[in-house]
């Protein structure tokens, strides 16, 4: 009995000692006044995909800003329930003054957190809500998708291009439409066949979806999801593929044409710098090729001849504003004119896109 009491005493003393030394280091850190920045990620930072692209942006900012900033990252946070709230709270408790959340589903939770913590700055990707201390940011990836459509349109021999689409929401529909317009700008006979998977991330299912398109005679496969499943399907059949998010040429070297990619680095570094300087303002951001936040990955050896020149030409026109992807005349699937000649779709219309352009073969499922 006595022995046990001594043991308890020892344990208590030791744990007290730990707690006290812990306090000591905390106070030391507080003296240096680093800006702590939190990143809440939907996926895994190490795997080429959507979150990976964000992580590359964060790494760029880290390199640029050096030891003025400290980062806290949390990967694989679900966006279909409120688990991101606990993550954000813990980040704030650890001293974060700036938090990035990178998935659509975080939007309302981020907004509520912004109301609750007015002295913390929130940046939410791909949403539509903002406040004094919360902004939403995204990129016009559809511009890069248009360019990738040009490559696909020049490459296809069967004039059938497959598109593995995720959920039927405006962001995905916009991508399909931009891609199809790109395809038909160089190859008016080609059609784009769409299969919906209703997933963002399911490697085997998305591969199976691509296989069903290949079985139908498609010889180029494009995609919206965050896995390489569709690309591997194309490569196994000796056909061609267009990726998404980042350059995955190394994974399917004999089949990869190009990919619309993200380049978040400069934007992230700029926003963090603004918080450091105290000049940050809640300004929503939807950047395009002119900022370099979206781009097309370098064309590989598999790309058709002359495609790089054509892509460069159009990329310049898009960046300079001379060419707009969604400029009339645009027809829908039934051949009816939806956007008359000389009219350019507004950002509002783009953000609520709910019809498919001529050349797309698909039915829109209910979301």
């Amino acid at each position: 009995m006595k022995k046990r009491r001594i043991l308890y005493l020892l344990v208590t003393i030791l744990s007290l000692a730990m707690v006290l030394t812990g306090c000591g280091t905390d106070q030391q850190n507080a003296g240096e006044e680093k800006l702590k920045v939190g990143f809440v990620y939907i996926g895994t930072a190490g795997e080429p995909g959507y979150t990976y692209a964000h992580e590359q942006g964060r790494l760029y900012a880290q390199e640029k800003l050096g030891d003025k900033v400290e980062f806290i990252i949390q990967e694989n946070v679900s966006d279909t329930d409120d688990s991101c709230v606990a993550v954000m709270q813990s980040m704030i408790e650890q001293g974060c003054k700036m938090i990035f959340t990178n998935s659509y589903g975080y939007m309302d939770y981020t907004y509520d957190m912004a109301q609750e913590y007015p002295d913390v700055v929130f940046l939410h990707c791909s949403g539509s809500r903002s406040s004094e201390n919360m902004l939403n940011y995204f990129g016009r990836i559809y511009q890069a998708r248009y360019l990738s459509g040009i490559v696909a349109g020049m490459k296809t021999e069967t004039n059938k291009i497959g598109y593995v689409a995720a959920h039927p929401i405006p962001e995905v529909i916009r991508g399909i439409n931009a891609f199809t317009l790109g395809v038909r700008s160089v190859n008016p006979d080609a059609t784009v066949e769409v299969v919906w998977t209703s997933t963002w991330y399911d490697p085997s299912l998305e591969k199976a979806a691509a296989v069903s398109l290949l079985d139908k005679g498609c010889d180029v496969i494009a995609q919206h999801q965050d896995t390489t499943g569709p690309q591997i399907a194309a490569s196994e059949r000796g056909k061609w593929c267009i990726g998404y998010n980042c350059d995955t040429a190394e994974i399917v070297p004999d089949s990869f044409l190009t990919a619309p990619i993200w380049n978040w680095g400069p934007y992230y570094a700029d926003q963090i710098q603004k918080v450091l300087d105290g000049t940050w303002k809640s300004e929503n951001y939807w950047g395009g090729m002119e900022d370099g936040v979206v781009a097309l990955a370098p064309l590989t050896k598999n790309a058709p001849e002359g495609a790089q020149e054509k892509v460069n030409e159009m990329a310049e026109k898009i960046a300079s504003g001379e060419f707009k992807v969604f400029e009339g005349p645009l027809k829908d699937q039934n051949g009816e004119i939806k956007v008359p000649e000389g009219t350019v779709m507004t950002d509002e219309e783009l953000l609520s896109f709910n019809w498919l352009v001529e050349g797309v073969i698909a039915t829109l499922p209910e979301n």
Binding site: G46, E47, P48, L205, A209, V211, T227, I232, T363, L364
Partner: protein
């Protein structure tokens, strides 16, 4: 139609292994909810060894060993320590998911070398597909890769083992009435351990099919819930290895049929979420029908889910 059916076999193959794995557990009287975890352990271990050695046999062995190691934890807890089977199984799933994620982190984005993937290209049995009329039907099942043929082999061997050998009879006795089996001199603990481990090894193979052949690259949570579907399908296929194969074929097909319907450009649209709900609806229906009919051949092993205490007879 033929390409669709061929792909249904492929898409059903991980399910076949997982259903058989779950079945062996349940035949021994243990309800194992850790199928998903063991599949993920097998998937990541198989992939790691495939990258290191480029040897398909070693990769499959590694998948089986790690699936079985997961099962060993489960067996030790539920058989020796007699813990609650459902809770232990859930813990195994959570553990397997976590470990595969941790381990898989450094495997992200790596691709299997061509020299490895070559071993799992479809191999057709040429004389069979030449037969008129039946040829295309044979080609659905017999123009597949070696891993798929392995699943056929295990289905047939399992059928023989369970219904035509003394070991199989003893195993079924352990699951049906553990006390009676014990009284008749069967080493219950040994039988439970061996078959839980075999089940784990099969689940590991199911996971490895996903990471080595079906996907084939390492991606987080590569099984995407197939382990759970397998647990439902064991009931649907009422603990028979042959029905397990057809059940896997059916639901493998259902998994991809949505895309095929979409490519037909019909005016209707089938909701993908609805299709993914079907295995569970089918399972509930089978349980209801089984409960009403009370047919002995479609009932679960009598002692399923109960820990066995010899002293409590």
């Amino acid at each position: 139609m033929i390409p669709f059916l061929k792909n249904a076999v492929i898409s059903g193959t991980p399910l076949t292994f997982a259903i058989l794995g779950a079945m062996y557990n349940e035949k021994a009287g243990n309800l194992n909810l850790g199928i998903e975890g063991m599949m993920l352990l097998g998937a990541v271990a198989g992939f790691q060894v495939a990258i290191l050695t480029e040897n398909p046999i070693l990769a499959l062995l590694a998948a089986m060993i790690f699936g079985a190691l997961g099962a060993l934890i489960y067996a030790f807890l539920t058989v020796t320590l007699r813990t609650n089977q459902s809770v232990t199984g859930l813990a195994l799933t959570i553990f397997g998911t976590g470990l595969s994620r941790f381990w898989g982190k450094r495997l992200m984005g790596t691709v299997l070398p061509e020299s490895f993937s070559r071993n799992f290209r479809p191999v057709s049995l040429p004389f069979l597909s030449k037969i008129p009329v039946l040829g295309p039907v044979f080609s659905v099942f017999l123009e597949q890769d070696l891993f798929v043929y392995l699943s056929y082999l295990i289905v047939i061997l399992s059928g023989i083992y369970l219904y035509y050998t003394r070991f199989g009879l003893n195993l079924r006795a352990v699951g049906e009435n553990t006390a009676a089996a014990d009284a008749s001199g069967i080493n219950v603990t040994l039988y439970k351990y061996v078959h839980i481990l075999i089940g784990g090894a099969l689940c590991g193979l199911g996971g490895a099919y996903l990471s080595l052949v079906y996907v084939p690259s390492w991606q987080d949570n590569i099984t995407s819930g197939r382990g759970w579907i397998a647990i439902a399908l064991v009931i649907f296929t009422s603990w028979s290895p042959y029905r397990a194969f057809w059940g896997a074929f059916l639901f493998g097909g259902l998994d991809i049929v949505g895309f095929r319907i979409q490519t037909l450009n019909l005016p209707i649209s089938l909701n993908q979420h609805f299709l993914r709900m079907l295995p569970y609806i089918a399972t509930i229906l089978v349980i209801i029908v089984g409960a009403i009919r009370k047919s002995t051949s479609h009932m679960p092993p009598g002692n399923l889910g109960n820990p066995y205490f010899r002293e409590e007879r």
